[in-house]
Subunit: 347 residues, 2 copies
């Protein structure tokens, strides 16, 4: 049982292929009217054969695949799901499909994926370009795509003058982290640990940088033993937190690089026999959906991933619509969400 093509439909309906095409694309309004009877006959034939237009052929002819590529760094992090969710929703409304690629960091194939996605298999690309930073190859590919005016939207932190040539949704934790630190200081915290669990360099620097900066501005020392680098899983954060707790002079507050890792930290603190926030304050990032239901409810800073995703698609659609547009930029602020996991420093 072979796939029916337009020819088969035309044959069955006793008309030419062009007629079929007209009926499908419903040009009945303006220029090329089709007799109602013929129309019905074609429609019947289509229904009978279960004819569905071939997307490859359409894409080749029209130069559009109605598909948007999406690259996210880590499929396990709820924040990125939220972004993907926003992207998917907004794209769907406009009739676009999503071609998803997460980039497992073990793989050296970042460039591969990136390149593959640009084979005109997609009309445009929306990405969290973490992998770009560490791959010269990817940088080059990006440059080429930009030169060719391939529609790309980056969802990223503020990179200064870099990447000004592509559309971008800018949202990072720079400013909000300063607020977080102030909040912690005002609560009397002086020793603040940070669980820096990131597999991709550069993805958490906004937080780490301001963490150090704030410490210095407050005249507090930067203690390297309070900065624990680890992997991106809850398990990693669990062990990282243990290290922090084993310190002879342990921190009174802990910053987890995201809420997921905060869950691991929370567990480790409990297992150590300490209480949050009585003995240790805990702060996360991303406000994942369950954060406000944790025990204790997690204080966190949030970027609204869904909105980032939606805005990104908005930008992309605008560019698809008008390739001559100057590079667009949307800035989305982060919010501070104070809940139960932060409190005054002990004694």
């Amino acid at each position: 049982m072979k796939r029916p093509s337009q020819v088969d439909v035309a044959k069955l309906a006793g008309v030419s292929r062009a007629t079929v095409s007209y009926v499908i694309n419903d040009q009945t309004n303006g220029s090329i009217p089709i007799s109602e009877e013929t129309r019905q006959r074609v429609l019947d034939a289509i229904a009978e054969l279960g004819y569905v237009p071939d997307a490859s052929a359409q894409a080749l002819r029209l130069g559009s695949t109605k598909t948007i590529g999406l690259i996210i760094p880590d499929i396990h992090n709820p924040h990125f799901w939220q972004v993907a969710d926003g992207v998917e929703q907004e794209a769907d409304i406009a009739g676009y499909h999503i071609l998803l690629s997460s980039i497992p960091p073990e793989k050296k194939f970042a460039e591969d994926v990136f390149k593959n996605l640009s084979n005109r298999r997609i009309d445009g690309l929306v990405m969290i370009p973490s992998f770009i930073y560490q791959s010269d190859e990817a940088q080059k590919t990006l440059a080429q795509l930009v030169k060719r005016r391939f529609p790309i939207v980056g969802m990223m932190g503020d990179q200064g003058d870099k990447y000004q040539k592509i559309d971008r949704v800018i949202s990072d934790y720079r400013d909000i982290t300063a607020e977080v630190m102030q909040h912690l200081f005002s609560l009397g915290h002086k020793r603040i640990g940070i669980i820096y669990g990131i597999d991709v360099p550069n993805l958490g620097t906004d937080r780490l940088f301001v963490y150090k900066e704030s410490l210095q501005a407050a005249g507090l020392p930067i203690d390297q033993s309070l900065i624990i680098e680890c992997g991106p899983t809850i398990e990693d954060s669990y062990h990282a937190t243990k290290k922090l707790l084993d310190l002879s002079s342990r921190p009174t507050a802990v910053l987890a690089i995201n809420d997921l890792l905060a869950v691991g930290a929370l567990r480790a603190i409990k297992d150590f026999g300490l209480d949050v926030p009585r003995d240790i304050s805990l702060f996360g990032y991303d406000d994942m959906p369950m954060s406000k239901f944790l025990v204790p409810r997690l204080s966190t800073a949030s970027k609204d991933g869904e909105k980032i995703g939606r805005e990104a698609i908005g930008l992309l659609l605008a560019r698809l619509n008008d390739p001559e547009l100057p590079p667009q930029e949307v800035r989305l602020p982060a919010r501070l969400i104070l809940r139960e996991s932060t409190g005054p420093a002990p004694e």
Copy 2:
């Protein structure tokens, strides 16, 4: 700046288009050898122009898009992401891309998506076919795809004689739920609530059915007030649990339809001033990554979503390789994972 095509490459290298094609597809081994010098010239031209083959044209020519469609019911549930993760990993190894569609249940477009995915935009389809059950239209489309021998793999519970014509990875919570109930009974629980938070009918019936069955087999009454239907979000489950707790004779154990909802239940119970597992035992499903880090660590039953995803791709690749294969079936058992959230019934 236009996209370069094979013709441009050929022109620049001073050869014919076919030669370019040969070089790319590296037929240098067997039948059609190319002089090393020509080869190099073509390669240089490709590099200079940054030529990348057009996927649409290739797809049209070869009849393969190297893309696999994936349909999951709810993008917010970690279990489905684990499935997606497995699918992505395994597909990537074989050089396939993933076209993801989640099916927001509010939308009546399930059939649309489904149909669209079959436009030969994809070589095969891997799905959790929850939406099928409620849509005649989708049923019809499926039947047609099956008749046309379009490669489809379903990841589903045991549906008896239905859907025997497609390849499937069968995994449900039927048997394991019987064990769960036995476990609860042996702990002395007699009043067991169930948070049935599912947006798609039929997706949680394996659990609900056996829940009732076990109750009856144990000579216990089926109390409808202990069965709370609600939406699929943590918030929904939070409120559902409250209802359970407000009962004049409240349950001593609660079954949440998945771990995500268990988080909401846990919160509600805490807010009610009760303790898990001392006052109420809590049981979830899916063993999402963070379940073992919750406070208390969550007892749960797990289907190993990642493996389901990997097996599904395995099945699909096998079929792609040999369309004449009889329908395959892989069964994956669920595991019982006893942690801290279940304990003896109070007094």
